[in-house]
Symmetry: C2
Subunit: 342 residues, 2 copies
Amino acid sequence: MPVTIKDVARNAGVSLSTVSLVINNKANVSPAMRAKVERAIHDLNFHPRRNARGLASKKTHNLGFILTDNHFSFTEPFYTKVFLGTEFEGRKHNYYILLTTVPKTFKDDDSVVPRFLLEKNVDGVILAGKVPVKLLEYIHKLKLPIVLVDYCSGRVKTSCVLIDNNQGMQLAVKHLLEHGHRQIAFIGADLQHPSIFERLAGYKTALQENQIAADENLIFCSAPDLGPDEGYKAAQELENSGQKFTAIVAANDAMAIGAMRFLKEKEYKIPSDISIIGFDDVEICLQTEPRLTTIRVLKEELGAIAVRRIVETINEGTKIINRVTVPVELKKRDSVAPVRYD
Amino acid sequence: MPVTIKDVARNAGVSLSTVSLVINNKANVSPAMRAKVERAIHDLNFHPRRNARGLASKKTHNLGFILTDNHFSFTEPFYTKVFLGTEFEGRKHNYYILLTTVPKTFKDDDSVVPRFLLEKNVDGVILAGKVPVKLLEYIHKLKLPIVLVDYCSGRVKTSCVLIDNNQGMQLAVKHLLEHGHRQIAFIGADLQHPSIFERLAGYKTALQENQIAADENLIFCSAPDLGPDEGYKAAQELENSGQKFTAIVAANDAMAIGAMRFLKEKEYKIPSDISIIGFDDVEICLQTEPRLTTIRVLKEELGAIAVRRIVETINEGTKIINRVTVPVELKKRDSVAPVRYD
DNA sequence: ACCAGCAATCGAAACGTTTCGAGAAACGAT
DNA sequence: ATCGTTTCTCGAAACGTTTCGATTGCTGGT
């Protein structure tokens, strides 16, 4: 019943293989033949089946997108945007994205390995955020192209799409310095994650470049994750520590928002008493009171670049591994004010 | 190189078909044989290829998820959650979800028809929000199972997973009535969308049940979409109209948030001057100032139910069309206060 | 002892493409 | 004219499963 390549061949009076050549835009088919076939394809409204093509060509035209459970729950708005970026870019290249999460304690065990890997149902894999090295090694063994987003592993060499974390945090700190702040606290989390580490590094660099000694007592990185509650607690610790501070930079917006909640509960006025800057520019920043000044990260763009990279390596079979860093910008809003001298 | 069903058959000393029977858990295979085959499968670490299975069985184990461009951009946090609900429930049933958007002016044209439909790469389709009837008819012709989420079409009969909009809005309005409010405005949008229409209906019902005549001058539904900017404008119109009002119910949270922005700019205090209630309970509600009282909708659950329904109809081949309505609850937070008499 | 009926197993075709190598046709150089 | 190339087209095998009908071997009723 459904129209197949056979029907097209018959209708056009050519062989199956010729039709296939036309479909796949291969060279060495005469214009006349091509026209005839295209006519038939159009007349019959033919569309080759993905499954059949996949079996014959060993290409699925799917890409896997993997992140860890905890990244997804704590920083969902961020990674959701990245995913959407892959989805839309994927469509342009005729790829669908299969999304899945893995536990961060991944081990090489069928019950936990993403099904699309077992079933060989993807042509490449994009992984976002810090992912278990075991998983990377597993995928590497499968000989599948890999692109990492917002992470880079020393153990397994892959292409990476990175955020300019260091530069971003420098922008934030310098912005505060320009407003006269000198006691600037940093609240973050697990420094195992390179992105957070880099943000902290950027913080230190910016201070040093302005002849200010980074004070370890103003750095709070004991939180295990990057959620608002962790931000709340970090701000709490900061205040309890008795350290004087006039501004906070947070490792991401979620933490900044949590910190704002704490500060407001304590009757601090933002930004007049305390200035604060986030990182990522998720949508909520526009709805906070005051609206959160932050470092804008082009999240969809990260995903889109990852897709382009992986499609390239699929098509060209090139093994070239590269690393691209996506720039970042300071998005000024209402959570920063000049320091008060009183 | 990769291990196939053939290798398993050889290793277990049985025929291809027997292995297939075991893989698919079919009846009529002796325990002894089953054990032997399972052993071989495990020893060889065999996993059948999705593509090959798909070609032979005409099942892709993919589901399509479609929404319209404008729904996605204006109410992204809502539909993203629904999508995530499908994704996670899909995984439990061994289905992947292929996400795509269509323009709301869909016409039956290859450049716009989702590729997974052309390529016969899904076993069923979930559509969320109001979708073009042309698209429904197109999918219907393909004989694919369809489930609608947060929409129901009179033209094409399908299963639907619905929100109890009417009841939800009644809860909201009654909550305000209990706080003494009598002039309650409704801000919404395009009444062509059944969900919005039902919410408005719930608003009217609640008022009538309390012997209050619904005042058409307090109803603002001219916005084309449901975003914050539309909420802002609706609140503006409301205020410009000169009508007295002490509370607002919004057709969704995004509009409520926009309205709050307007009210704050005009120096109204929320909730002491004006109370406001949203609908959907998206995450931003927790970050607004004050935190937005709203009607909680189980968004992931909507998606999950849709997947279960569609998987049932795929497996059982049943043509049963049903409609399930997911209940809703009032989530009290800080944007409602007793009316002031002054 | 015989046979109907059933359960378990198997062989072969089918699913709808791609791809590879072979053959035919056209061409240019000698 | 002849021959070696190049260009175009085709036939057939291959991809890795599922499925259907056929076959074999049992079971139990007579």
